[in-house]
């Protein structure tokens, strides 16, 4: 019988969305055979929050959920002190969600210098620099439960994950949200006739979809095992990105008709050449309703 890894789920400036998203993990019972939460914001644990703050608990993995700030206190104790203490004890640290990784929405909460653990949007932070080597980032607003669970399993099994520049496992974050979207054909042929409330059409051209340049596996590992925003007709909001949230999220920023943000790795001239070619042809099937 192998030992369960002890996880401390520490919530900082957070909405609890990640905790609830994690509760949607389909094999929670098996997970809890392998891991134990010494503290969790929802699941019962042997220790209370007061124990976490006042005592010195053993923990294998520290999960940080929410943005951090030197000004923010958890029960009168500065969060950075709690993070510091447990981060040095833990063998691995995982930043859960975009706020904990990059600062996210709550970086605008009004506390002084609110950021993610190692990043303030795209820029590195220095307070916890020494901990970078043992950190894995899982960005997302919220995270996909399968991504967090798989990462924790990888830690348990000592699997060395390839990480990107933001410490995110490439297995999940090398893909773009665009991979696997059911509206791809409309994108391929540059058909910009999307209207809301219709299953046809691609939302990249007019409605602000950030899927072609956002790193995540939403259309590969579906949400709630059944769907994704873009499949449902809601544009990708780029929630795993360092600069989430941008502004004017439902509108594509265009300069003289050309989208400002292009698909990942695709140069402007390449994009315009492709657009020029595809715009010359009309594909009747894609101009009409599917059924």
């Amino acid at each position: 019988m192998c030992k369960k890894l002890q996880i401390l789920w520490l919530s900082a400036i957070s909405c609890n969305g990640n905790a609830h998203s994690f509760l949607n993990y389909p094999q929670l019972d098996v997970f809890l055979d392998n891991f134990e939460f010494i503290y969790h914001p929802i699941i019962e644990s042997d220790y209370t929050l007061e124990d976490v703050i006042n005592k010195d608990l053993d923990c294998d993995i520290l999960l940080i959920d929410g943005a951090i700030s030197p000004e923010f206190k958890k029960m009168d104790e500065p969060i950075i002190n709690i993070v510091d203490r447990y981060a040095h004890k833990a063998k691995k640290i995982v930043t859960v969600g975009t706020c904990a990784t990059f600062g996210g929405i709550f970086s605008q909460s009004g506390y002084a210098y609110t950021t993610g653990l190692h990043f303030n949007q795209k820029n590195p932070t220095f307070l916890f620099k020494s901990l970078k080597d043992k950190t894995i980032s899982i960005s997302g607003c919220p995270i996909q439960p399968e991504v967090l669970a798989s990462t924790l399993y990888a830690i348990k099994k000592d699997i060395k994950l390839k990480l990107d520049n933001y410490l995110r496992p490439q297995e999940f974050f090398a893909y773009t949200v665009h991979n696997g979207c059911t509206r791809n054909e409309y994108f391929e042929y540059k058909i910009d006739n999307h209207v809301f409330g219709k299953k046809e059409g691609c939302m990249f051209y007019d409605h602000g979809c950030q899927a072609p340049f956002t790193n995540a596996s939403c259309n590969k590992i579906l949400w709630n095992e059944v769907n994704s925003k873009t499949r449902a007709g809601l544009p990708c909001m780029g929630c795993t990105s360092p600069d989430f949230p941008k502004q004017n999220l439902f509108k594509t920023k265009k300069n003289m008709g050309i989208p400002q943000d292009l698909p990942l790795g695709v140069g402007k001239r390449t994009y315009l050449t492709l657009a020029g070619v595809t715009k010359a042809f009309k594909i009747k099937r894609l101009e009409e309703e599917l059924f």
């Binding site: 400036i13 609890n16 509760l23 019962e44 209370t48 909460s109 607003c141 502004q247 439902f250």
Partner: protein
């Protein structure tokens, strides 16, 4: 004496003071830390609120989305929201309520009565109903599928069948776990004693309450209010059982609280209870009428009414699902672009814990002011000794602070919402 309450979507601190008979004569309720969502929204483009506001909360974010879209639509002079969109919005709201109630019952309530928290009993039905939300909205939590003009999705007959089977699955789950009986029987029941003799986790808790003689514990002012009218919930206020309609949101006032980050809220200067018990009193649900007749607005009635909403909403959702007309639109583009709108709007929905009010002020499509009033602000208003808030009144007079915690949690507290 200070007690820290945790795992209530955040934390709160209760500071009890006792009289000479060692009975609680005052409770100061303190919520820590805010995220200043109302400031984050300042000067943002209106539609961005549809993405930011679900992040007020991880368990009732969907209610925030729907209140936001209604507030924005209220800023228009003439806007037509297609019936299909209204139905889907109500359905996904119901699904979120159901998920909240399951989680509250199995994760919060069970441990209060000495039982171990039953994680899987909370997550299994929640995961299933979340699939129903995701079928329509793409994902759960944190979808923004309701936008000004309707909804973004275009569902098919097969989607409706899928959603119906998720609902059936959850009904079956309820029937096998919460109250072992046909949910039809439960919905039509008007006598609490018939429930108590059944098998199931709910009767177990209700019997436990009676065994400990707690059935009259936790009574407050017996004053209820519900703002979010839809095809199921009715709005109005109920003072004991006397119902009056025609509420005016102008009479809702917030006040800053000295110690806490949560603001108090009153209607015409008085504190009111919101939530499932309030909704049941306004609808005059037979089973809750009976519970209230016997035990007033105690923890018995409060717990029963919350759990009772599960099969009621499941049943109502099945009915609503059939009203979707697939050949009708799900979205109608508003005639005026939001960037031209300068107006105020209010959006009200019934979130899991009670009435949720969003107020927005737009200037050429930019948010100039945003106000959120959450249900927990109503129930957990931190009043003064001479004018106690709802939950304070409910806790006064008890000597055991563990019991006071049970009374407190019977309101289903959401700390992140309250401090937003």
């Amino acid at each position: 004496m200070i007690k820290l309450i945790e795992k209530i979507e955040g934390e709160a601190r209760l500071n009890f003071s006792f009289d000479k008979n060692k009975k609680i004569d005052f409770v100061d309720i303190e919520f820590f830390s805010t995220r200043n969502i109302e400031n984050i929204l300042q000067d943002k483009p209106a539609l961005d609120a549809l993405v930011i506001n679900p992040r007020v909360c991880g368990i009732c974010g969907h209610a925030h989305l729907l209140a936001t879209v209604k507030a924005l639509e209220d800023c228009y002079q003439n806007i037509k929201i297609p019936k299909n969109a209204q139905i889907l919005r109500e359905l996904t709201l119901n699904f979120e309520l159901i998920q909240n109630h399951f989680k509250w019952f199995y994760l919060t309530v069970l441990p209060l009565f000495g039982y171990k928290q039953h994680l899987l009993k909370a997550t299994l039905p929640s995961q299933t109903i979340a699939k129903a939300i995701a079928t329509v909205g793409g994902q759960y939590p944190h979808t923004s599928y309701a936008i000004v003009g309707g909804v973004v999705c275009d569902i098919s007959a097969m989607d409706i069948i899928k959603i119906e089977s998720y609902i059936d699955e959850v009904i079956s789950y309820f029937e096998n776990n919460i109250v072992v009986a046909k949910s039809e029987e439960f919905s039509e029941c008007d006598n609490v004693e018939k429930i108590m003799i059944k098998d199931g986790d709910l009767p177990k808790i209700l019997l436990n309450i009676k065994e400990k003689s707690w059935e009259y514990v936790g009574k407050s002012y017996d004053r209820f209010i519900t703002f979010g009218e839809n095809s199921y919930f009715q709005s109005g206020k109920s003072i004991k059982t006397r119902v009056s309609k025609n509420l005016n949101t102008d009479d809702v006032k917030e006040q800053l609280n000295q110690n806490s980050h949560a603001k108090n809220v009153t209607y015409k200067g008085k504190y009111y209870e919101v939530g499932p018990l309030s909704r049941a009193m306004l609808k005059k649900t037979p089973l809750i009428k009976d519970a209230h007749r016997r035990y007033g607005d105690s923890i018995f009635s409060r717990i029963l009414s919350r759990v009772c909403e599960i099969p009621q909403l499941l049943k109502h959702s099945k009915k609503l699902l059939q009203e979707i007309e697939l050949n009708q639109p799900f979205y109608i583009e508003p005639k005026t672009d939001i960037s031209k709108i300068s107006a105020c709007g209010i959006g009200i929905v019934e979130a899991a814990r009670g009435s949720l009010i969003h107020k927005v002020e737009l200037e050429k499509g930019i948010i100039k002011n945003y106000e959120i009033i959450t249900p927990t602000q109503w129930n957990l208003s931190n009043g003064e000794k001479k004018n106690l808030g709802i939950s304070q009144k409910a806790m006064i007079g008890e000597s055991d602070i563990s019991l006071a915690e049970i009374i407190f949690k019977s309101f289903d507290v959401c700390s992140v919402c309250t401090t937003h």
